[in-house]
Every structure is written in C-alpha cells, then in structure tokens.
C-alpha cells in the first residue's frame, strides 16, 4: 500500500506520509471503538457477576452507553486546580493516552498486517508500556494535592516492581522463539504442542509463566486486585482525583487502551497471536485479525472476571508478591527454560 501511494500523484514523500497516516488511523480508530466497547463489556460483566443488569438504557441493550458517557465528558468544563503545575498537569493525560496507543504499532494482526515489523518488537512494547507510569506519576505530582500524590507514588513503585518480572517472563518466551520480532514469536507457536495446537500456553514449561504474566499484567495496568493507585476507600480516586472533563477521559481511554494492549501482548506471546488455536487448514480461512481479536476478548473477559471477584491487595502484600515471589520465580524459570533448550533441544546448537 505504501508503494502504491508513493507511485500515485502524491509523489514519494507525501505519498509515504499519507499512506502511513491512513494505516495508523486504520489501527487507532477501531482501537478507540474497541476501548468504548471494552468499557461497556467491563460494566456488563461486573453487573452479571453481581446479578444486576448493567447499562441497558442508551441504545439497544445499552450498546451506546460508552459513547454517551464520552460525549458527556467532552462537553464538561475542564477545571485546573489553582495550585497545580499547569504544564505538567495537562501533559500527564496526553502522555498516558499517547503511550497506550504507541505500543499498537508493532502488534501483528496477520503475517502481513503489521504497521512496523521491527526486529526488536517485543522490546519496543516493553519500553513503551514502561512509559505509562510517567502519565500517572506526573499527574500525581502536578495536581499538588495529597491523594493524587500518594496515588502517583504508589503506582510508580508498583509498576517498576512488576516490570522486572514481566521482563524475565518475556525473556523465557523470547528464548523459546529465539527472536525479538513479534511475528516470529507468533510463528514459532505454530503446531508446537502435539503438532496441532498453536499456543505456547499449553507448553508445560511456559504455562506457569503465562499465569505470572497475567497477574503481572493486572498489576502493570493498575487493575484490581492491584488498583492501589486509585483505591477509592483510601485515596478518593488516586492520581486522577483533580482531573475533569477531557483530561479525565484521556486517562480513562489510556487505561483501557493499555489493558487491551496487554491482552494483545499476552495473546501474541502465549496464545498464538493471529494463528488459529489449532493447526488445521480450514481454520486458516478465517483472517488472522479475527483470531487475534477473539483472543483479546477472551483475555479481557478474564480481566473483568478478576475485577468482579477478587478483593484488593494490601500495599505491602503487593510489594511482597512482586519482589519476593515473582522476581525470584521468574529469574529461576529463565534458568530452567534456557537449561531445557540448551540440553534437550538443538535450538542453541
């Protein structure tokens, strides 16, 4: 498509930019609609878990609820606290939102459908997802108020702690796939289990890592049971207490976009990405993007399920889990996996 644009009347430079702008929009617009429906799905799943109906008034089955909320937020007045550090205060939600969208650039939707097929794709996602903390910590500091500040500090410590174990978990998968490229990681899962299942998840050596990655992803995206940064009972709403209107909406969108990104990353690393679950020819007729979206939906359901059922952790327990349980375990598992690959396979030969 990029070549076609470059060869058209637009010329090589304008055509290049135009083609990429269209490709980026082709990812971002469905993503934002997906985020709106993720919020709706979240509320419906919690409602179902609590025997309620959930949103059901706006549109058929309440399907337009998120858009109505978005419109309402859009029309409200932006209030900037007098004591706030204005520049940083306004920059924080923008960073949060942008960073959540950045990671999607390297997610492969099929063998060809990937915006930037770079060599170090997984490192790129890891780098970008570690930036999300800046949005939170900056908003916490710039609000110049107690609760946001405490929320920001909590979140910074939490995200840095869990990133370490996420890094080691990613390394085990990278060792298995012997590549940092996300498309190679997806393809390495083709028929790995019994020659028929296209998933790393059912690999006995990687399954514990999948569980740990899921829990770390909950912590990384500040989802319950690890939503300490915005624990209502203690911190009002944490770092977003002072935000209103569109700035608040950007946090909200960014949060859900980050959750969906984590789901996408998990499906790429452990559930076979755009590959169908079984290595069976008729299943390949369905486009890869559909499989990926189905897997993301499944994982998102798990996220919402956890939200509806598990009580919040205490902060010291959260830190204990991150540093004293996950970090040694994942480090040990890197040794186990590399030892297995070294001595029982010919991968490193």
């Amino acid at each position: 498509m990029v070549e076609a644009f470059q060869n058209s009347f637009l010329g090589p430079y304008v055509g290049y930019v135009a083609a990429y702008v269209i490709l980026i929009l082709a990812i971002v617009l469905p993503l934002l609609i997906g985020v709106a429906y993720a919020v709706y799905a979240d509320r419906k799943i919690w409602a179902a878990a609590q025997m309620r109906r959930g949103p059901n008034v706006v549109g058929p089955w309440g399907l337009l609820q998120s858009f109505a909320d978005g419109l309402k937020v859009f029309l409200k007045e932006t209030i900037i606290p007098a004591g706030a550090n204005k520049g940083v205060f306004l920059l924080a939600p923008i960073i949060m939102f942008t960073v959540a969208l950045l990671g999607w650039a390297v997610i492969p939707f099929s063998a060809e459908m990937v915006l930037a097929d770079i060599n170090v794709g997984i490192l790129y996602i890891f780098a970008v997802s570690s930036l999300g903390v800046y949005g939170i910590i900056m908003s916490g500091w710039a609000s110049n108020s107690k609760y946001p500040f405490l929320g920001g500090l909590r979140s910074a410590a939490q995200m840095v702690s869990y990133e370490v174990s996420i890094g080691f978990i990613i390394i085990t998968v990278v060792l298995w796939a012997s590549s940092f490229n996300l498309n190679d990681i997806v393809l390495s899962q083709k028929g790995t289990i019994l020659g028929i299942i296209n998933m790393h998840m059912f690999n006995p050596l990687l399954f514990p890592m999948f569980i740990m990655f899921f829990i770390s992803a909950l912590a990384e995206t500040n989802r319950p049971p690890f939503d300490l940064p915005e624990a209502e009972a203690e911190l009002v709403a944490g770092y977003q207490t002072e935000y209103s209107s569109m700035a608040f909406a950007l946090f909200w969108l960014g949060e859900y976009a980050a959750i969906l990104l984590m789901c996408a990353l998990m499906s790429v690393l452990f559930l076979g990405g755009w590959l169908p679950p079984f290595d069976w020819a008729p299943l390949y007729v369905i486009p890869g993007a559909i499989w990926l979206i189905l897997k993301i939906c499944f994982l998102f359901f798990l996220f919402a399920w956890v939200f509806a059922t598990v009580p919040r952790f205490r902060y010291d327990q959260l830190m204990r889990l991150g540093w004293k349980v996950f970090l040694p375990l994942s480090l040990f598992w890197v040794v186990v996996v590399s030892g297995y690959l070294m001595f029982f396979t010919d991968k490193f030969a």
Partner: protein, 197 residues
C-alpha cells in the same frame, strides 16, 4: 535535530528552577539519545536505553526528587563559599575533556571514523552481534561490571537497612498453614450460659 534537542534539554535540566522539571527534561534527553542510537542502526541499544534509563532509573529519580523537600533559599546561601571549589572542579573537568578530545584527534584523523571492533555483518541482527561480542571477547569485563553493580546494591541495602524491634510482621506461610481446628472452637451455649474458653 535529535542531538540539538539533547543539548537544549540538557541545558534546561541545569537551568530549570524546579527539580522535577529538571528530571522531566532529562527524560527528554534520554529519549533523544535513544533516537540517535536508532539512527545509527543500533535498535537493541536504543530500546534498552529507553527500558532501563527512562523506564526504571528516571522513574526512581523522579520518585526521589518529588519526595525531597528542597529549600531553595537555603541552597543559595552557601553559593559564594562553594564557588571557588566548584570553579576548580569545572576547570579540571574541562581540561580532561580537552585532553581527551586532543587524543581522539591524534588517533583518528578527521573525517575517517575509528574502525569498529568487529565488522558489522549484514545478515546478523545487532542483538546477535552484541551477544556474540559480550559473551566471548568481553565476557570477563561483563561479569566484572555485574559484580560492581551487585556490590553497589548490597552496599546500599546494608547502609539503609535498620533492624527494628517490636514491629509486628505478617508471616504468610504461618497464616496459610493455619487450620480451622486450631483457630475456631464451635460451641453451643444454652440460654443464659456463657462460653468456657
């Protein structure tokens, strides 16, 4: 352009009055350094720079700087008395830089880049190239740098760790190991009777 932004944000780090703003400018400088690495084709290094420096080190910086309660008036009080020492330090650093620059000019004639340690192979990704070099030729240096970091870490822990007595701690293993039989007594007291414990 990237180098220009690095210089500008580096200047802003020093000039901004608010230490938190300084750290934010520093992060911008890190980002642009990663951009420079990318343009040199060292994508692995660029990503590691963002992950380690921006994602972890700068967060901790920001963390510490935000918690510090700095009194600027007090800081400026001692400015004059520290000035001579600061000037000497700056002079030494500048002299070192000049000497190093002179040495570089002598080694590599201008316009001709210094030869890389190994020739860049076209078919090897730079992650593999780095690994092949670090784990063979520089294996001992690599291990030694790891030891230095470990020592620093242990040192920091030893310096700051305080053993406090009389603090109640949660022992998760003990909690999980408790059985209902040890913890609960089921009784059925009659009307007007108490429970004997």
């Amino acid at each position: 352009m990237l180098a220009g932004i690095i210089l500008l944000s580096g200047t802003a780090v020093i000039l901004s009055r608010n230490p938190v703003h300084s750290v934010l400018w520093l992060i911008l400088a890190f980002f642009n350094a990663a951009g420079l690495f990318l343009m040199l084709g060292a994508e692995f290094l660029a990503m590691i720079l963002v992950i380690v420096y921006v994602g972890a080190v700068a967060v901790l910086f920001l963390f510490v700087v935000m918690m510090l309660d700095i009194d600027f008036a007090k800081l400026r009080e001692g400015f004059v008395s520290y000035l001579p020492f600061g000037l000497i330090l700056a002079g030494v650093l500048a002299a070192e830089l000049i000497v190093a620059a002179m040495a570089a000019v002598v080694v590599g004639s201008p316009g001709e880049p210094v030869a890389p340690v190994i020739a860049a192979a076209a078919d090897v990704s730079n992650t593999e190239a780095l690994g092949a070099l670090i784990y063979t030729k520089y294996a001992y240096v690599f291990q030694a740098s790891g030891m230095v970091l470990l020592t620093a870490m242990i040192g920091a822990i030893v310096l700051t760790h305080r053993q406090r007595s009389g603090v109640k701690r949660q022992n998760i293993g003990q909690q999980v190991a408790r059985r209902p039989e040890d913890a609960v007594i089921i009784t059925k007291p009659g009307v007007g009777q108490g429970v004997e414990l």
